[in-house]
Symmetry: C2
């Protein structure tokens, strides 16, 4: 209707943004090009001026999420040298992203579990490995600095730390928001922190 013509760069951004919104609301598997186009304000066939097909749009969305997660990780590591503080901030950030950029957990879970296109799965896995690797680094550095018990396996610590997130997210989603993620995360984090702190 409007028939406003925008540069393909801008439109691509709009489309990916819209895709993220839909993923957040309904999950990766339930995106339709119709809904996507409606959200952007154009007609379905117009999407194909900017992307080869639906799959390409989804991959772009996954990549965008991955980039944002990466930026967050870096910022946290530059904020403070103290490992426990880093972890504390990281958890807060992730929880915030989970709340605001809900597309992230949906992508990690859907792609990881529902085995969509292999490319997307690979992307999601790469993102996850990035996150886990960074957490593991924080752990090692914390151990080297004498802030975290050195008798514990850094990798296991990292997996366990990260594990608090999916647990909270699943409970949150399944309970339709009735489950208080933030509070739960705080408590679990306290527990965890006391357990790993050097003594």
């Amino acid at each position: 209707m409007a028939l406003e013509k925008l540069d393909t760069g801008i439109r691509r951004e709009q489309i990916v943004e819209a895709a993220l919104g839909l993923i957040a609301a309904h999950g990766v598997g339930r995106i339709s090009v119709a809904a996507l186009a409606r959200r952007v304000g154009i007609v379905p066939s117009a999407l194909y001026r900017h992307f080869k097909n639906k799959e390409e749009i989804l991959q772009a969305a996954v990549q965008l999420v991955r980039r944002r997660v990466g930026e967050n990780l870096k910022e946290v590591c530059e904020a403070t040298p103290n490992a426990l503080e880093r972890l504390d901030q990281l958890l807060r950030r992730v929880m915030k992203m989970v709340r605001e950029l809900q597309a992230m957990p949906r992508i990690v879970f859907s792609e990881g579990m529902s085995s969509g296109h292999p490319e997307r799965k690979a992307q999601a896995y790469a993102m996850l490995k990035e996150i886990l690797g960074e957490i593991e680094n924080i752990m090692r550095q914390g151990q080297a600095r004498g802030e975290i018990r050195s008798d514990l396996d850094a990798r296991a610590l990292a997996v366990m730390f990260w594990g608090m997130v999916p647990a909270a997210v699943i409970l949150w989603h399944m309970s339709d928001g009735r489950f208080d993620v933030t509070r739960q995360a705080e408590r679990t984090w306290e527990l965890y922190k006391e357990g790993i702190r050097a003594r």
Copy 2:
């Protein structure tokens, strides 16, 4: 082809079993009545002799999983009174179910995240609450018996314990089995156990 006629009770079981297999292999969202019927050895339309529609089949599958999980929980609790041993066995059992009855994690995750039909979601949530409640009970009893630190919140302990499972499962799935769940679970569990043991 075969045209063997079986009692609707038997066929229902076969169908649900086939559904569980497909869920395990491809996730809840990707089940087609065609594939389901093929697996059972009948034609798609024949399914409708035994179930009202696809949704009813999926719900039956979810319920079956829920029942099996419940049975497992009971058996674990009757096996030993010691809380730490119970948790140990519970983790092993769950990991075994995750490997053998892969439909379980897929249902919990897919239903929880991808918001399928509200009824299924409710079922999955009920199952999850059952599990969490049971774990919480074990924690409390362990605290009462002086086996688990009493200064920790039983609910947070339960969520954290349970959280080890989704974490491991996600990593396993995303890595296409390259990630060694069992070993990871062992390590994390050791970590966790040491953290909560009364001293």
